[in-house]
């Protein structure tokens, strides 16, 4: 450890201690744990089901009441993935002819079975997000995970069928664009941006929430595609160059 690093460590400890103390002092003015009085949350809990026909209040907030935040958040993921592609552009070595067969039959069998299961779980979570815990983000991440399982269970070449930017970019772009397009459609129809233009459906079923369902699926598609692009980038920048060394 150089002297500079040592000095930094010695100064950092009391400084962070003081920062923690100030934070703690500020928090001591907050309501006690378990005694939160927020009217905003209560109002939404009370009105989300009758107004939005969605029994999962959190999803109703994410895709409707505060749906504009979600649009921004979706684009943060979008921009970051584009950024990672930009940053790793010189390091990637996608090689469709390189193979990395998985040796163990047990892993292959188990993996192939699990891909289907995990995919269904992901889709189910996304579909029922308006009814029970879940939603587009959660479902999208799990669907991406299911497809990474293909790499783990079956090797690099089968993975390449899915893990290609030319395949994933359109999904990512269309997912992101459709969210904004739904908002603009409301605007064109004379309503505020992201206003719910469709019927509300029956709460507690798959067909509930109106435009929330569409937004939910747009996000699921975008998140799954974006995550897969991320995995592709890191795989091809870091793992694939070393595949032959195994």
């Amino acid at each position: 450890m150089s002297s500079r690093q040592r000095l930094r460590a010695w100064i950092a400890a009391p400084v962070l201690g003081l920062l923690a103390a100030i934070l703690g002092w500020g928090l001591s003015g907050a309501p006690g744990f378990g005694h939160f009085h927020g009217a905003y949350g209560d109002l939404l809990s009370a009105t989300a089901v009758p107004q939005r026909h969605s029994t999962n209040v959190v999803t109703a907030i994410v895709f409707d009441y505060r749906g504009f935040d979600t649009m921004g958040e979706e684009f943060i993921l979008f921009a970051s993935v584009v950024g990672v592609v930009l940053l790793l552009r010189d390091m990637r070595e996608p090689s469709g002819d390189r193979d990395d067969p998985v040796a163990s039959d047990a892993i292959r069998l188990f993996g192939v079975l699990m891909v289907g299961v995990v995919l269904v779980v992901g889709l189910w979570l996304a579909a029922f997000g308006l009814v029970t815990p879940g939603g587009g983000f959660q479902g999208g991440v799990i669907v991406a995970g299911a497809i990474v399982l293909v790499f783990l269970a079956a090797g690099y070449r089968p993975w390449r069928a899915f893990g290609r930017q030319s395949l994933l970019d359109p999904f990512e772009g269309v997912g992101a664009a459709s969210y904004v397009a739904l908002g603009l459609a409301a605007l064109i129809a004379g309503a505020p941006f992201l206003h719910n233009l469709m019927g509300l459906g029956t709460s507690g079923t798959l067909a509930s929430g109106g435009s929330m369902t569409l937004l939910n699926w747009a996000v699921a598609v975008e998140v799954a595609a974006a995550n897969l692009v991320l995995y592709t980038e890191f795989l091809e920048s870091y793992l694939v160059p070393h595949l032959d060394e195994r």
């Binding site: 690093q5 930094r8 950092a12 744990f33 959190v58 993935v81 390091m91």
Partner: protein
């Protein structure tokens, strides 16, 4: 209980930043930032908790039953997505640094100064 709940958030926040300051490896630094971000989730969710209340899901539950605050949960969801994306970028930068210089020590890669 209040002390414990808020204290955990504050501790995790401080220790994450401390780790980032003294870090000698960019990957470790990115993960320290993840730790710091977790403290914001802890704080948000702790703030919204209510004793004896259930989840804000009303599928089989009568409307009007006490529920914890759903707004902080949506904020945390957004927060998680944001953190994943930023850390992915920092890790990609770390990979690039390693390729250019062979090192991931922040003190060793310093060419910009003054």
């Amino acid at each position: 209980m209040t002390l414990l709940a808020y204290g955990v958030a504050v501790w995790v926040f401080a220790i994450g930043i401390y780790g980032a300051i003294v870090s000698r490896n960019l990957i470790h630094l990115a993960l320290c930032l993840t730790v710091t971000q977790s403290s914001t989730y802890i704080l948000l969710l702790t703030v919204g908790y209510r004793h004896g209340a259930g989840a804000p899901i009303f599928e089989d539950v009568k409307l009007g039953t006490a529920a914890v605050d759903p707004v902080v949960q949506s904020l945390t969801l957004t927060d998680v997505v944001v953190s994943v994306t930023v850390i992915a970028l920092i890790l990609a930068l770390a990979l690039d640094v390693h390729r250019q210089s062979g090192s991931v020590d922040p003190d060793e890669i310093s060419t910009l100064n003054g």
